[in-house]
């Protein structure tokens, strides 16, 4: 075997694994120095209004407190792209938890005490924080997140629905969900004259640098942003967040390096969240389950700060061969925290609803739900008519069904009973688009035989730096351990964000091009390398991100088995199996981690993760990890992830599709469909906590014997 055959796709171990488990990997809040100061923000305690006075005297009198920044004395900032970054610029309070002051002090403890001593007086206004499907202020926006049209229509979906043999008209509700990465959002900023250096818990340093340049009126080349290690983000670090702006502001005001690490409880209000979505699905089909009409309408909210529209009806444009279709988004601007990106924005909540409805349709027409999906497989992308670069949904469904033992399934709801437990199984499809961004990379051959690759990638725990080394080694024909990779530094040049499952394709394309060029330079060379080595560079602008004539998406299928305890209404997932088709898999170890990580997060969405917007106070009730229930180990029983390899020449030099998000898409539907199969009851609001499930079991009058009573 040659090195080339073994490196790409191999289960290489994470390069920074040892640093992380031994605690030597440094995160943004850990760049200490003798003169470093700490900051602590003051969140607004009203849901809507204006700050009319800030009394900082008591805070400033505390030992160690250096400064109290408010809208009255904070430096004026330039206009950011993202209005949530215009912090301390005016007295308006758009939602509870919006930062109204920042205390800077010698120590973290002094900063916190100072924040507690700041007295803020508000003029309060009536707030509306409750989303309803018929909210009078809901409107159809120009576009949804990602620039997708808010509305699409094909044919006459209403007419086709009216004359369909089978009709399904149902609603689903997904609550707000929170990213809650392990590392809270943090930044350390230092000014040296008019040069700014920032260590940021960010998914992309170039985006942070660009916003800081706009805000502080600096040319980008006077700003360095580094994100060497990032403890997860799930989208919430995909755009710069207030903490990095506040840290830079505080550092400039005090002349000291300043760290601001947000307390966990402040995250839900200021780092973005997945907005709640109310779905209405109308599926019309013939007697064999072939779709005649598909309508997916989504109502969601945004804040008063900016418009962000969760694009949850978009996946319906990709999935099934419906001759008539309508997809539509509505949004209401409420006095709520600003929603933002969270793992598989759009696809995740949208496919929960669509794939739940497909399961309902399967039951309605009496067709196996795997078969129903196969029957509705389109030849081209339904909305655009473009050919797929590759589409292996059917293979994923068939392979998953085989591995799961689907053929042994008794299709009758409520057919599995083990004592007080009802056992059921469910299936759902997954999809996620292929996204790619431009960027630069360099590859340097060193005299000793090693290579140095530099690319402004960010490794948020995904294994990006490891995979990039594999891509480089493959293109160079070099052993993996001869390749050193430097990432996450805005000085390297433009790098796109670790988001939209685009990282490996984007950074990898630039790395591949630089390495292939270097390989060519080395091929004809007989003389020894100069001391500084030989370097090749690449810039993929206009190439990597060029529009494709193909519809490019990853697909997948989830299979879940649940046990529903009829005594308590507790639901546990006993099996969870996913099969994914995402082009060529570049690292079997880290890819599996991404898939099962997404599936685990989807399991949480299905069963445990609940967030309540408090109508009286205007904030999320579940604000810490004791009350916002991400799955614990005991909830996650041996998830299995497999993949179908695809050879697709229309992607990038590696032949890969993104894998970071598809694992969460459809998981909740598979679990919910399994709960229906177990109980015969269709729960259409997530999560499936015991209060909801037990109430459903009781309302549906399960016979006493079945309930173990």
């Amino acid at each position: 075997m040659t090195a080339t055959e073994t490196v790409l796709g191999a289960p290489a171990e994470r390069r920074e694994g040892r640093e992380k488990v031994t605690g030597t990997a440094r995160y943004a809040a850990e760049y200490d120095s003798a003169d470093r100061a700490h900051a602590w923000p003051v969140p607004a305690t009203v849901a809507r209004g204006r700050v009319i006075a800030v009394d900082a005297a008591a805070a400033l009198a505390l030992p160690g407190v250096l400064a109290v920044l408010t809208h009255e004395n904070a430096p004026r900032l330039g206009d950011p792209d993202d209005p949530v970054l215009a912090v301390l610029q005016n007295p308006r309070v758009p939602h509870r938890g919006w930062f109204v002051a920042l205390v800077v002090a010698e120590t973290l403890e002094a900063a916190r005490a100072g924040a507690g001593a700041v007295r803020v007086t508000y003029e309060t206004e009536g707030a509306d924080v409750t989303l309803t499907a018929s909210h009078p202020e809901a409107y159809v926006p120009d576009s949804a997140n990602g620039g997708f049209p808010a509305v699409t229509e094909k044919g006459d979906p209403d007419g086709a629905f009216a004359s369909s043999a089978a009709r399904l008209d149902v609603g689903y509700t997904v609550p707000p969900l929170h990213n809650h990465p392990m590392e809270p959002h943090a930044g350390t900023a230092r000014w040296e004259g008019d040069r700014l250096t920032v260590y940021s818990s960010s998914q992309g340093t170039s985006a942070v640098r660009a916003e800081l340049a706009r805000l502080f009126g600096l040319p980008e080349d006077r700003i360095t942003v580094r994100s060497e290690h990032v403890g997860g983000g799930f989208g919430s670090k995909g755009t710069p967040r207030p903490e990095v702006v506040l840290a830079a502001m505080a550092a400039r005001e005090t002349g000291r390096p300043v760290t601001l690490a947000l307390p966990r409880r402040y995250l839900p209000a200021v780092v973005g969240h997945r907005a709640p979505t109310l779905h209405r699905l109308r599926l019309g089909a013939d007697a064999d389950g072939r779709l005649t009409s598909l309508t997916h309408e989504v109502t969601t909210y945004t804040s008063r700060v900016k418009e962000f529209v969760e694009q949850a009806a978009v996946p319906a444009r990709v999935m099934y061969a419906a001759p008539t279709m309508r997809t539509l988004h509505r949004v209401a601007a409420l006095d709520v925290p600003t929603p933002s990106w969270m793992r598989a924005p759009g696809e995740c909540p949208g496919m929960y609803a669509l794939e739940s409805a497909m399961d309902e349709l399967a039951v309605e027409v009496g067709v196996d739900p795997v078969e129903l999906r196969i029957r509705n497989e389109p030849e081209t992308e339904p909305e655009s008519g473009k050919p797929f670069s590759s589409r292996s949904l059917v293979e994923c469904l068939r392979d998953g069904a085989r591995r799961f033992g689907w053929e042994r399934r008794d299709p009758r709801p409520r057919s599995g009973e083990e004592g007080p437990l009802l056992i059921g199984t469910g299936v759902a499809s997954a999809t996620y688009p292929v996204l790619v961004g431009p960027g630069v990379a360099s590859a340097r051959a060193l005299p000793g035989g090693d290579f140095l690759v530099r690319v402004n990638a960010t490794d948020i725990g995904t294994g990006a730096r490891t995979v990039l080394a594999q891509i480089a080694a493959d293109a160079l024909g070099a052993p993996l351990d001869a390749v050193r990779v430097e990432i996450a530094d805005s000085d390297i040049g433009f790098g796109s964000v670790a988001g939209g499952s685009s990282g490996t394709a984007s950074w990898g394309s630039a790395v591949h091009e630089a390495c292939a060029r270097l390989s060519g330079m080395l091929a004809g060379r007989s003389e020894p390398l100069p001391e500084e080595g030989l370097v090749a560079e690449a810039d993929t602008s206009g190439k990597a991100d060029a529009e494709s004539p193909y519809a490019r998406h990853a697909f997948g299928a989830h299979f879940a088995e649940v046990a529903v305890d009829t005594v308590s209404g507790e639901v546990r997932v006993t099996r969870l199996l996913g099969v994914f088709a995402a082009g060529r898999i570049l690292n079997a170890r880290t890819a599996r981690s991404q898939f099962i990580g997404g599936m685990t997060m989807g399991l949480g969405m299905a069963l445990t993760e609940d967030s309540t917007m408090d109508p009286a106070f205007g904030d999320f009730t579940q604000s810490d990890l004791a009350s916002y229930h991400v799955p614990a180990h005991a909830d996650v029983v041996a998830p299995e992830a497999y993949w179908v390899e695809e050879a697709d020449d229309h992607l990038n030099p590696m032949g890969s599709k993104g894998i970071g998000e598809i694992g969460i898409v459809g998981t909740a539907a598979a679990v919910g469909n399994a709960v229906h199969h177990a109980t015969g009851i269709r729960f259409r609001e997530l999560p499936l906590t015991p209060d909801r499930v037990l109430t459903g079991l009781l309302e549906h009058g399960h016979p006493a014997g079945m309930l173990g009573v």
């Binding site: 109508p615 009730t621 229930h629 614990a632």
Partner: protein, 330 residues
């Protein structure tokens, strides 16, 4: 931060003296709740009297067969103690159903009894809470209260006690042993915590300066049936939506002893005396269990969003009673 004194006590006397010498002091056990509350500003003690080094870390069987559990015995050690597992399985199960492995390793027996409610309004100083700040109101009453009380609450407070361990202790007729300025005393575990009434700021019957020195479990024979069941949102590391501890002794075909306590339904572990009274002397049948539980839960007054707790508590209790009853009788 607010400066506070720290005193490490080596004896019970040193601890109570230090407490008396520092107005506004708190005893510090494992700190798994108190330290969190200090970070949130909900607790701001003038002094912490660290009692974790007191010689109260033993579990001892007394000559009369009762079991003396020191106040500083860690939750994980108590759960794993062979005598506890053998004779008081409800207690071991309750401890293991609580928190996480890491927290159980740190949390103490005395500290577990004194943990505060996890009501989100109590933990957020920007909102009203009569328990935290008497007279400020109750944010939960009309707010988000799925997890709150259905029994024994007042218009002042609808919080629940979060402990699993305390529920088992209440059902097992344990006593909480206290030492204070006026000497030592013990109170039944079932009466140690209070209902909120007009004074939700008082969680327990403990008097100022009193220190929990231990818990006394009455003599029990191996095989005395007891069990704990907890319903929750996730399989681990979640507070109960409802829980129940049951002790059930059946002899000659009738219930001779019944101890039933509910968790997460009230401001204290809810000892189900009415249900117990109805069961004593009755044949342990499903019908008798249902009748007894219905008598008890008739007093429930659910709030707008937590009516599910009543059938949930009834069903898990019925399940545990049925499992503990001799097979032939149900």
């Amino acid at each position: 931060m607010k400066p506070f004194a720290y005193v490490r006590a080596g004896s019970v006397e040193e601890a109570t003296d230090a407490f008396a010498a520092h107005p506004g002091a708190r005893y510090l056990g494992g700190g798994t709740n108190l330290v969190d509350l200090m970070k949130l500003g909900v607790e701001a003690p003038a002094a912490l009297v660290d009692v974790t080094r007191l010689p109260l870390d033993a579990v001892e069987e007394l000559p009369d067969g009762s079991l003396q559990v020191g106040a500083t015995v860690r939750n994980s050690d108590l759960a794993a103690h062979p005598v506890v597992r053998d004779r008081y399985p409800a207690l071991s199960q309750a401890l293991l159903a609580g928190a996480s492995g890491q927290l159980r390793n740190a949390a103490t027996t005395g500290g577990n009894l004194l943990q505060r409610t996890r009501c989100p309004y109590f933990q957020d100083r920007s909102k009203p809470c009569n328990k935290r700040e008497p007279g400020s109101g109750c944010g939960a009453l009309e707010g988000v209260h799925r997890d709150h009380a259905v029994l024994g609450h007042s218009d002042q407070c609808i919080a629940t006690n979060p402990s699993d361990m305390a529920v088992a202790l209440a059902a097992l007729d344990a006593r909480v042993e206290l030492t204070g300025p006026d000497g030592s005393r013990s109170v039944p575990a079932a009466d140690f915590h209070r209902l909120p009434g007009m004074h939700p700021e008082r969680d327990t019957e403990i008097l100022p300066g009193e220190l929990i020195t231990g818990v006394l479990l009455p003599a029990a024979t191996a095989g005395l049936p007891s069990a704990y069941r907890k319903a929750r949102d996730r399989a681990s590391y979640a507070f109960a939506l409802a829980s129940v501890a049951v002790v059930l002794d059946v002899g000659d075909g009738v219930v001779e002893r019944a101890g039933i306590a509910f968790g997460a339904l009230a401001h204290r572990p809810w000892r189900a005396r009415r249900a117990e009274d109805a069961l004593i002397g009755a044949a342990p049948t499903t019908a008798a269990f249902e009748h007894a539980l219905d008598l008890e839960l008739a007093a429930a007054e659910p709030l707008r969003d937590n009516a599910f707790k009543v059938p949930l508590a009834r069903r898990i209790a019925l399940d545990v009673l049925s499992r503990l009853a001799p097979p032939a009788t149900t």
